[in-house]
């Protein structure tokens, strides 16, 4: 109680620290993560594997697959790294997030920033654990029929950043997000009118209205693979397209292979309905 009151007093008087990216660790630990943690523990029953591959300190780049129509996987990855590996992950988010009211500053307060080479380089130089979803909207907004098929990995800017900083790349496979909002259709015209990259149709949305926004309770596994070292390259190789493309492909193949194994290991997405 005493502790809670000093916390409240600090919040009310503004006596807390925020880093240059807008990360507010206290708010993140004591408020924001507590809101999403029940989703992690109870709803998706997330299992985290390969935690020994996440460095205890220093810069590293976690590269993960992205799916689920809404980026819930980003939140779950954040909880996994915070609770199970003891590290605050600094995710690189889409431009759209930072244009929107509320979402933009909440994202900054929980440690994330806009995906740009400047921000990625700066975070890695400071020894932060950075997370990125190179598939972007192509991954998170892909139809249900494409589930567990990695989409194209952009231009590989993340590889350049890792090489420049000489930090390891940790391939990460997330299984379970694909089933939370199975996207079976799209409303492109309306999406364009609203300035959104896509507007999904799922079995429950928009059919059930806001109720359709409740994610399906699939079983999740998040696995961190063996780190890929980048210190064997020269920092100048960051600008060599051949090196960057090859390295991007290697990371992509590793994650796809990890995904295939992990999916089998998880078994059915909705265990009580194993006949499904």
């Amino acid at each position: 109680m005493e502790d809670f009151l000093t916390f409240l007093r600090r919040r009310v008087t503004g006596e807390y620290e925020v880093d240059e990216f807008g990360f507010d660790p206290e708010l993140n630990d004591r408020v924001l993560l507590n809101i999403v943690r029940p989703l992690y523990r109870k709803w998706f029953r997330v299992g985290a594997l390969g935690l020994e591959n996440v460095p205890v300190e220093g810069g590293a780049l976690v590269v993960a697959n992205h799916s689920g129509t809404l980026p819930i996987d980003a939140l779950m990855l954040q909880v996994a790294l915070h609770d199970e590996a003891g590290r605050a992950v600094r995710l690189l988010g889409a431009d759209l997030v930072y244009q929107l009211p509320v979402l933009g500053h909440l994202s900054r307060k929980s440690g994330h920033t806009r995906a740009s080479p400047e921000d990625a380089d700066r975070l890695l130089r400071k020894g932060e654990l950075v997370g990125v979803f190179p598939e972007g909207f192509k991954g998170v907004g892909k139809p249900f029929s494409q589930r567990y098929k990695l989409q194209r990995f952009g231009r590989g800017g993340f590889v350049s950043s890792a090489i420049r900083a000489g930090v390891p790349i940790i391939p990460c496979a997330i299984v379970g997000a694909e089933e939370i909002y199975p996207k079976i259709g799209d409303l492109p015209t309306l999406a364009r009118a609203l300035g959104l990259p896509y507007l999904p149709i799922t079995p429950l949305f928009p059919l059930l209205g806001p109720l359709g926004l409740i994610p399906l309770p699939s079983k999740w596994l998040i696995e961190f693979g063996e780190p890929i070292r980048t210190d064997r390259f020269d920092p100048d190789d960051a600008d060599d397209p051949m090196v960057v493309f090859n390295q991007t492909d290697e990371v992509r193949e590793r994650i796809q292979a990890q995904l295939n194994v992990l999916r089998l290991r998880r078994g059915p997405a909705f265990p009580p309905l194993s006949l499904f």
Partner: protein, 330 residues
């Protein structure tokens, strides 16, 4: 070594403090302060005041007559005193005249120009932290930021033509401190500062003492180039409002713009579009180059500068804090 330093914009707070600091230095033989209005009753010591409108070529005579070797150009105004066109003329034409005069003078060896981090703009597409090399995502097309951008353009041109002159451009974050009077300090002194609903920008401040110190060092030493100047760290707008013991009024951005325009039209408050952008998206800059070059760091962090400003203007307990105090009283 004899030094004759010319300071423009000497009737304004930081300009006056800088002129005073330079006048106190026995290494400097003369300090000449120029401005369009005479300095306030403040004692400027041995600073010689000359009333010159920078937009006129008179400044060239002052520089030539006094054998000025160092020019510190502080006269950049961020608020239109009567009209925007007068402000633009003051900022841009004034700088052109001053630089033209410097270019003709064989005695001038060092030029220090005050600019602002507003040249980087403020958009949701910005990098989190701007370095001196960063290009603005959107070049300002109005107001103070545009003036500063154009001023910097002329300064670069001058530096090219007179490569023998050491030219320094200082991009200051918002000034903060007990004596600073700016749109932002006036904003924080309102009883209920409005904020933009759903946005909580990162802000950076530079304390007036640190600003004067940086300008003084730059006026006495050779450090060519462009430097960001800001206190360490950032404060979120919500944090500033809480520290000030105020309650903010979040307004949706279109309503904010509407009310801001109305307040400006009524002459109540001066709130320009670039200030709206700043309190929506914020801005932070990297100051490693300055620290490395001067071997010195600002004494005040952004937070300390803001607290010092608050101390001078009195802080009241905010309503939530009073409630908390009431509940936890012993």
């Amino acid at each position: 070594m004899t030094h004759t330093v010319l300071v423009t914009g000497v009737s304004r707070h930081i300009g006056a403090r800088l002129a005073g600091a330079l006048a106190a230095d026995p290494e400097i033989s003369r300090v000449i302060g120029v401005d369009t209005v005479p300095p306030r009753a403040r004692d400027l010591g041995r600073v010689e005041f000359v009333r010159v409108d920078l937009r006129s070529p008179d400044i060239a005579q002052v520089i030539a007559a006094a054998d000025v070797d160092t020019v510190v150009h502080m006269s950049l105004v961020s608020v239109p005193a009567n009209s925007r066109s007068a402000m633009k003329e003051h900022n841009v034409i004034g700088t052109m005249q001053l630089l033209a005069a410097c270019q003709r003078s064989p005695a001038v060896r060092r030029v220090v120009v005050r600019s602002t981090t507003a040249v980087y703009g403020s958009t949701p597409h910005d990098p989190a932290v701007f370095t001196e090399e960063s290009e603005p995502v959107e070049v300002a097309h109005s107001g103070y930021a545009k003036d500063a951008h154009e001023v910097e353009g002329y300064v670069r041109g001058f530096a090219r033509r007179r490569s023998d002159v050491v030219t320094t451009t200082l991009r200051f974050a918002n000034f903060m401190g007990p004596g600073v009077d700016s749109p932002l300090t006036r904003y924080f002194r309102q009883p209920l500062p409005p904020t933009v609903l759903g946005f909580d920008p990162r802000l950076q401040f530079v304390h007036e003492d640190d600003a004067v110190e940086v300008l003084r060092r730059m006026a006495l030493e050779d450090h060519p180039g462009t430097f960001n100047v800001a206190g360490e760290g950032v404060l979120l707008l919500s944090q500033c409002v809480r520290r000030a013991g105020r309650l903010s009024v979040p307004l949706p951005s279109p309503l904010f713009r509407l009310l801001g325009d109305a307040a400006r039209a009524a002459g109540l408050l001066d709130f320009s579009p670039e200030q709206l952008a700043l309190i929506s998206h914020g801005r932070a800059v990297d100051t490693l180059r300055l620290a490395g070059t001067l071997g010195w760091k600002p004494k005040f962090t952004s937070a300390a500068a803001f607290d010092d400003f608050l101390r001078a203007h009195g802080v009241s307990d905010s309503l939530p804090l009073s409630v908390l105090n009431y509940l936890t009283r012993r």
